[in-house]
């Protein structure tokens, strides 16, 4: 897996560093400074209003563009003139035949029709109906984790006790990955999505992940299973190398993202007592609340990268063939031109909360219905089970994941 590189990676997680980088940030890189843990950096507002297609410089010195409005993000992500094979045409980096090919099976870095082949094999496993059928399994896993949590005296770290194990158990069950091996793959997965892991550390984690999944694929060839990986093996459509890549992708995507949405949503609700009370008073609001939390918190914090396959004009800017465009999902989701009614406000009763949290275009999150099912089950049961849930430390002291591709909290100590 290739790491997206935001313009500015932080080396520590403390807030003080955030304010220091505010001064140090050279113009034209991607905003990183948050004034509130639940808001994207302030600067996005100015960019949306004044410079919707802003020139920016990547850490390696390459020039590119940052797109911040809702409509433009959708355009960049759904227009086939923009390619997901980032790096292949990257100016300043190795180009054309010299660019390293993405590992086999990494379909998030493919364009149609190559991408279509993988997507088609998987979409049937993640339909709305399949995910509804899976809900009892998810609810059981949620209940078991909450039982264990309730048995502890508190305070406990909600990430380790609940937010991470739930999606991790679910994706392991779905994919057919032994949960007992979690320590190793959770660690490797974290290294892969951490911004400041060194190149060697990154390479090793990536290799370890691939090695692990490769063994699993071989085992499933010997002894067929009826989980997703097992079925893919049986379909005979993919090589072992491709199956390994798909497995790595689904395993990482399956727990990093949802775990952070569960923990960050909980923290956000605890900080918004009025919203929390509304949700407790009327559990039927949960479906809408999940959409609103996805919109409001959008954890893909550095946007999605695309490469222009030809010259494209956007808002009078000439995006040259080969240049990289970053589409900021978090910024698009706070665009007042798209959502007139105070997009900066969390409103779990918002009648309609369309958003870009799962991206847009042919790469829109494959697991989005699973993520929704998990968030609903997890948040409903957690609020229900712990009516007096609260943070066990001042909110400013919660270590935020500014240093990860996927935003959220490193730890969330809670008590009840």
């Amino acid at each position: 897996m290739t790491k997206a590189q935001p313009a500015k990676s932080r080396t520590t997680t403390s807030r003080t560093t955030t304010s220091q980088t505010a001064k140090a940030r050279p113009t034209g890189t991607q905003p990183t400074v948050r004034s509130c843990p639940f808001d994207p950096p302030e600067e996005y507002r100015t960019l949306r209003e004044q410079e919707p297609v802003a020139p920016m410089t990547f850490p390696d010195g390459a020039a590119g563009w940052l797109v911040t409005r809702y409509d433009d993000v959708r355009t960049v992500l759904s227009d086939p003139r923009f390619s997901a094979k980032r790096g292949v045409l990257r100016p300043g980096g190795p180009e054309g035949d010299d660019a390293p090919a993405p590992p086999p099976g990494l379909f998030i870095m493919m364009d149609a029709p190559e991408h279509t082949r993988f997507r088609r094999l998987l979409t049937g496993q993640f339909t709305v109906r399949r995910m509804r059928q899976l809900t009892p399994v998810v609810e059981k896993i949620v209940a078991e984790q909450l039982d264990a949590m309730a048995a502890a005296e508190g305070p406990v770290d909600l990430v380790q006790a609940f937010a991470l194990p739930v999606p991790s158990l679910v994706i392991c069950e779905l994919l057919g990955v032994p949960y007992a091996d979690r320590e190793e793959f959770q660690r490797n997965s974290a290294t892969i999505v951490r911004l400041n892991s060194g190149p060697e550390e990154f390479r090793q984690a990536q290799q370890a992940m691939r090695g692990y999944l490769h063994q699993l694929v071989l085992a499933k060839r010997e002894n067929p299973t009826d989980d997703i990986l097992g079925e893919l093996v049986r379909s005979g459509e993919l090589t072992d190398e491709e199956l390994t890549g798909v497995g790595v992708l689904l395993l990482i995507a399956g727990h990093e993202t949802t775990a952070n949405m569960i923990a960050l949503s909980t923290m956000c609700l605890l900080q918004n007592p009025g919203q929390l009370a509304a949700l407790r008073a009327d559990p039927s609001l949960m479906d809408g609340a999940v959409e609103e939390l996805l919109r409001y918190l959008t954890i893909v914090q550095f946007g999605v990268r695309r490469t222009a396959l030809e010259d494209v004009e956007l808002h009078g800017r000439q995006i040259k063939e080969g240049s990289t465009v970053v589409a900021s999902l978090a910024s698009g989701n706070r665009d007042a031109a798209h959502l007139a009614d105070h997009p900066e406000r969390l409103d779990v009763e918002r009648p309609h909360s369309p958003h870009l949290a799962f991206g847009h275009g042919i790469h829109q999150c494959l697991g989005q219905q699973l993520a929704r099912a998990e968030m609903k089950a997890a948040l409903s049961a957690l609020l229900d089970r712990f009516p007096t849930l609260r943070l066990a430390l001042p909110v400013e002291e919660v270590p935020m994941r500014d240093d990860m591709l996927v935003y959220g909290v490193h730890e969330l100590p809670v008590t009840w």
Binding site: L77, S78, R119, R120, L121, L122, T123, G124, Q125, F126, T127, V128, R129, R130, H352, P354, F358, G359, H360, G361, I362, H363, Q364, C365, L366, Q368, Q369
Partner: protein, 64 residues
């Protein structure tokens, strides 16, 4: 109102099913959109338009 679907474009995201469950479904095998009602009653127009707007792959066209 008439609905046209481009199966070739569909990426099985299911956004249409969430927006208008009476009109759209997904095939079990591959998650590709299934049109339950190609000429739905007019009351469903807002939902159908919403589904078309949300479809990430621009696979749904609504002819009014």
């Amino acid at each position: 109102m008439k609905i046209l679907i481009d199966e070739g474009k569909c990426v099985g995201a299911g956004a249409c099913v969430l927006a208008a469950a009476d009109v759209f479904d997904q095939r079990d095998e591959d998650g590709i959109v299934v049109l339950l009602d190609a000429v739905p009653p007019h009351e469903l127009l807002p939902q159908v338009k919403d589904a078309a707007a949300r479809c990430p792959a621009l696979a749904i066209e609504v002819v009014e």
